[in-house]
């Protein structure tokens, strides 16, 4: 599904060059639930942006569903994003002057779906996430958890292959965080690949695979079977505190 081969990425910071990703090799299969961890500055968000075609990479190759993603026109990238990827952000990124239903329906607008049809679909997805009574509410009238559920509904409406979530629980309290993770899990169970960036161990522990980044390189990959080990380690880490 996703195949990264020796990805390099650096940013120009005035005269100096900041080398963020120093050769990432990563393979993610269809239907996996992956979390990317790492301290700040380890390049986890950059990696997510490259995966989501929001940013270009300098070196290496990136294949998404068998297609090489490189040097695409903005227009093509926009279409591919719309079809393949759904985004969930830490700060929700809902459009403030649109109500919940309109926000959810927006990706379909860029697919050219008629207004009536996309509003019906948006209501369907809001219903799935238990937000039907909130359809007419504006983002500033909703709680963080509700906003994030609206954002998830928006990510799902275009029936993407991958959901990319950048710190989806970063702005939420523990209970709501777990609710959101529960939703992401359910999404994953219907066969959608879910990749989240997080720095919270308990959140990462709910996924099937953890990719740990350190200084722009993959430090370790913890797989399914090893997760219980990770959980154990993690809880041990917490105990002295």
């Amino acid at each position: 599904m996703i195949k990264l081969n020796n990805i390099h990425k650096s940013y120009e910071m005035g005269s100096s060059k900041l080398h963020v990703l120093k050769g990432i090799d990563l393979e993610i299969e269809q239907g996996e639930f992956v979390s990317i961890m790492g301290s700040s500055g380890s390049g986890k968000s950059t990696l997510l942006n490259i995966l989501g075609m929001l940013d270009n990479y300098d070196e290496g190759s990136y294949h998404l569903a068998g297609k090489l993603i490189a040097n695409m026109s903005e227009k093509k990238a926009a279409r591919l994003r719309n079809e393949m990827v759904g985004f969930v952000f830490q700060s929700f990124n809902l459009i403030s002057f649109k109500n919940a239903m309109e926000n959810v329906a927006l990706p379909l607008y860029y697919q050219g779906v008629s207004r009536k049809k996309r509003n019906v679909m948006a209501m369907e997805y809001l219903d799935k996430l238990g937000l039907k009574p909130w359809a007419e509410h504006m983002p500033n009238e909703m709680s963080g958890g509700q906003k994030q559920r609206v954002a998830i509904a928006r990510a799902l409406i275009s029936k993407p292959k991958i959901i990319l979530a950048d710190e989806p629980t970063g702005a939420l309290d523990t209970t709501t965080s777990y609710e959101v993770m529960e939703i992401l899990k359910e999404i994953n169970e219907i066969g959608i690949t879910v990749i989240i960036v997080t720095h919270e161990h308990d959140i990462a522990a709910m996924t099937q695979k953890i990719v740990r980044l350190k200084d722009g390189r993959i430090h370790e990959v913890i797989r399914n079977g090893e997760l219980s080990e990770f959980r154990y380690k993690y809880s041990k880490e917490l105990q002295p505190a």
């Binding site: 942006n49 929001l54 926009a78 079809e83 830490q90 990124n93 403030s96 860029y110 207004r115 275009s158």
Partner: protein
């Protein structure tokens, strides 16, 4: 493609930012409003002045005599120069002269009818005078060539004379005593552009015969057929040099022979108005540009403010073209509506002024001097200005829109 969604999104942003939209619109509306007022006033002034010129034939020229001030051919200065009937024949025969009328003024002639009497100026003239001075005949006719040939005792009196002597009695066909000689009234006239109509006109031949004027003439009123300033000046020169030779004075002697060339004046005045018009256009366009720069500026800020929103849109699949369309349409919409409002207000104001002037002036509009007439803007100019504004609005919106489209979603979303 008419896309309700696109428009709904534009209206949503406009509604959310009423103040910003108002300021943008205001700068544009003000620009076009001022342009309309400037152009309208310019037109009004130039129409007014042109109509003043039209009181007399535009190509009129007046020639009069005085005393010499430069010694010439052994003759001393201070010698009076006098026109005679043969000079009239001469000027008529000069090339470039279309029509000519001689005039002999008799000041303070006594007019009486019944018990009423008064002193008025008598202008003795040829029928051609009417071509030059465009007199408006309220009743009857002007002096004609038969009157001249047969030295008929007829007179055309001004409206004021008619009112003073005849009151409500019809004057036409009545006999009025002029210095105790009865003359038949054949017409009543007014002079456009003058509030006093106290002149009476009689055939020059009759006057010379009856009032012992001999064959003397005071001045000539002629029309010339010069089209350009140069042509009319040539004709002027020709007349001057011809009379200089015949009446023996120096050609440069301005006081021996005075001339007033209306065409020359008209052309010069119109040139000034042309310059004023150009100036007005420059100011108007400057105002417009200021408005457009305002729009452009505000749209740049809009793009800055909406960076995050644009980032979100791009993340969920908006193409650069759709982002450009969104910003551009908003800019065009604001400039078009605001421009239209400015246009309506500007032309409305000028039409209102015009209407009020017509109302208050009424009959007097034909009489007296006006400096302001029909201060309206050509419809085509108004439409062209609006179109220009819409195009400019599109350009003003395009630069920020292009910038918006090139925003990288990550940059936009990293803003948090």
């Amino acid at each position: 493609m008419f896309d309700i969604d696109k428009w709904q999104e534009i209206f949503a942003t406009i509604k959310k930012n009423k103040m910003r939209t108002f300021l943008t619109g205001f700068s544009v509306a003000w620009g076009i409003f001022m342009l309309m007022i400037l152009l309208g006033s310019g037109n009004g002034l130039s129409n007014g002045v042109a109509s003043n010129f039209m009181n007399d034939a535009v190509n009129a020229m007046w020639i009069w005599t005085g005393e010499t001030t430069i010694p010439h051919q052994g003759l001393k200065t201070g010698r009076p120069v006098q026109f005679h009937n043969d000079d009239y024949d001469l000027i008529k025969s000069l090339s470039g002269v279309e029509t000519a009328s001689g005039r002999y003024y008799m000041g303070n002639t006594r007019y009486s009818y019944g018990k009423e009497s008064g002193e008025y100026t008598t202008v003795t003239c040829h029928p051609e005078l009417n071509t030059v001075e465009n007199m408006e005949l309220l009743e009857g006719r002007f002096i004609n060539s038969v009157d001249i040939v047969e030295t008929r005792k007829v007179v055309v009196i001004g409206k004021d004379i008619k009112e003073a002597l005849f009151k409500d009695i019809p004057a036409l066909g009545e006999y009025v005593n002029i210095n105790k000689v009865p003359f038949k009234v054949v017409g009543v006239c007014i002079e456009p552009g003058s509030t006093r109509n106290r002149n009476a006109y009689m055939p020059v031949s009759t006057a010379q015969k009856i009032f012992s004027g001999g064959n003397r003439l005071h001045n000539f009123a002629v029309t010339i057929n010069g089209q350009t300033l140069e042509e009319s000046q040539q004709i002027e020169e020709r007349i001057r040099s011809t009379f200089a030779r015949k009446l023996r004075f120096d050609e440069k002697d301005e006081s021996a022979l005075g001339m007033y060339n209306k065409l020359e004046n008209y052309i010069q005045t119109m040139r000034i108005f042309q310059a004023i018009k150009i100036f007005i256009w420059i100011i108007g366009i400057g105002t417009l540009i200021a408005g457009i720069v305002g729009v452009s500026n505000i749209m740049l800020i809009v793009v800055k403010e909406r960076t995050k929103e644009i980032g979100i849109r791009k993340a969920i699949g908006a193409s650069p073209a759709s982002v450009i369309g969104l910003i551009l349409l908003e800019s065009i919409l604001i400039t078009t509506i605001a421009g239209y409002i400015g246009l309506v207000l500007g032309t409305g104001l000028m039409e209102g002024i015009n209407y009020m002037m017509v109302q208050s002036a009424g009959e007097a509009a034909q009489q007296g001097e006006t400096v302001f007439l029909n201060p309206t803007v050509d419809f085509n100019v108004a439409v062209a200005a609006t179109l220009l504004l819409i195009v400019a609005g599109a350009i003003a919106g395009y630069i920020p829109a292009k910038r918006a489209a090139s925003i990288k979603p990550i940059v936009a979303l990293r803003d948090e």
